[in-house]
Symmetry: C2
Subunit: 260 residues, 2 copies
């Protein structure tokens, strides 16, 4: 059965999608894992980021989420030309799903149930969350075994981590006792501007200790350029800083998931 990892942060633009996509690609390419990246954000940026890799096919995740009798995420996945990597295509209708599920009985369990069969087809399932703590993010936290929290070393981003960790604690008390923090990942670390960053990292390390992942993701324009080109970082710029950073992150995550 697959290990399910939610990539979540309330703060916008901290690198959730960039992490979900490149971590997924690294686990597939370098660790021989069968990986599914599920796009829970109505923006549909997982598909946009991997545009040149995607094979035709796949369906709409909002239909799986909105069906009363449930469905399986497996029914809507699309394959890519990266061996072992599948995704769910972008679906703007997820915006409506966010509202429509509000009145459903056990509204937070919908995604977990829709992954029941899907989990047996993959080694790792990565859930890319929208920048809020709404119903779809809650569904991700209930379906997940672990949660990875990207955080830019800025005061606004750090403030959001606390709210998310508290939400995870409530989710684990009431809805999903197995939910565990995989770690807090420093993203967009600017090597040129260490004074602000190092203060922020000291703050994170003070507040979260062990949960702060050692591997950092530096600011690296290759990551944005790869996205622009619709390719993962390993096919676009395999020797770039971004590729090295995400490869090390994948080592860390593969080890953490094995020992779970």
């Amino acid at each position: 059965n697959a290990a399910v990892v939610a990539v979540a942060a309330q703060k916008g633009g901290v690198g959730k999608t960039t992490t979900a996509v490149n971590l997924g690609a690294a686990l597939a390419r370098f660790h021989g894992q069968n990986v599914l990246v599920v796009d829970l954000d109505a923006q549909g940026h997982v598909q946009r980021s991997l545009r040149t890799h995607i094979k035709p096919g796949g369906g709409s995740l909002s239909q799986v989420i909105e069906r009363e009798d449930g469905g399986e995420v497996l029914d809507v996945v699309a394959h890519t030309d990266i061996p072992g990597l599948h995704i769910t295509p972008g679906d703007p209708r997820l915006r409506e799903s966010e509202n429509l599920v509000t009145t459903r009985i056990g509204k937070e369990f919908i995604l977990r149930d829709a992954l029941e069969v899907t989990r047996s087809h993959y080694d790792v399932i990565i859930l890319d969350c929208p920048p809020n703590l709404g119903n779809l993010t809650l569904n991700a936290l209930v379906a997940a075994d672990r949660v990875l929290v990207p955080c830019e070393p800025t005061p606004l981003s750090i403030q959001g981590v606390d709210a998310l960790i508290r939400t995870c604690a409530t989710v684990s008390d009431r809805l999903n006792p197995k939910l565990d923090i995989l770690g807090i990942l420093v993203t967009r670390y600017d090597g040129r501007n260490t004074s602000l960053n190092d203060v922020a990292i000291a703050e994170l390390s003070q507040a979260y200790g062990e949960a702060l992942i050692d591997e950092k993701i530096n600011i690296n324009t290759s990551l944005a350029r790869a996205q622009h080109a619709g390719r993962d970082i390993f096919s676009f710029a395999p020797r770039s800083r971004g590729a090295t950073n995400y490869k090390s992150l994948a080592e860390h995550v593969a080890t953490a998931l094995r020992s779970a």
Copy 2:
């Protein structure tokens, strides 16, 4: 009566809050306007960005939004030590308001009604939106006269602009005929890396023509440092690139609002 400007973008982290706060401060400081910045995002980053300027007082916006018999935003504003600038304090409960209003009759008109008296107390009201097209952003688009769309020169951010412009068209057809696009504002423009940026700007200019605002906001660490210090850019680093950029934007906005 105040001109109401919504600062909205579905994409996260593009500079909505940085723009709402520093544009508001510039209009108050350099154009003698009475300005209110309303924080519609549960993250509460308007207050965090102006932490050292805020005077005690103010209340919770979610209570105004959730009251059946309505209330006025004026009831919950907090003053700052920047002459002419008021804000609404951060309110994490706005996350629940997003869901609670779903079933209300005329759910998109709640904020417009709650600004009815408030509008007569200010020259400009700026609405900082969360990174989605949910109920609170829709409320902002219905309450607003103009919408300002920050956009980072990246493919993911540009893709989000289109969805927002289409949403504005639907809002103006059905709910708010006076809604007009104030403009698309290029933010986090990286002067060091013009090749990617210039392709993106050409794309924006092609798609939106006149609506693309000439004034750009460059990437400037003073803006992040000011936020870290809890100060507006004009008190933190008045001669920085960020201060100059937001001053020029305020010129542009003040002129545009006068001629409306």
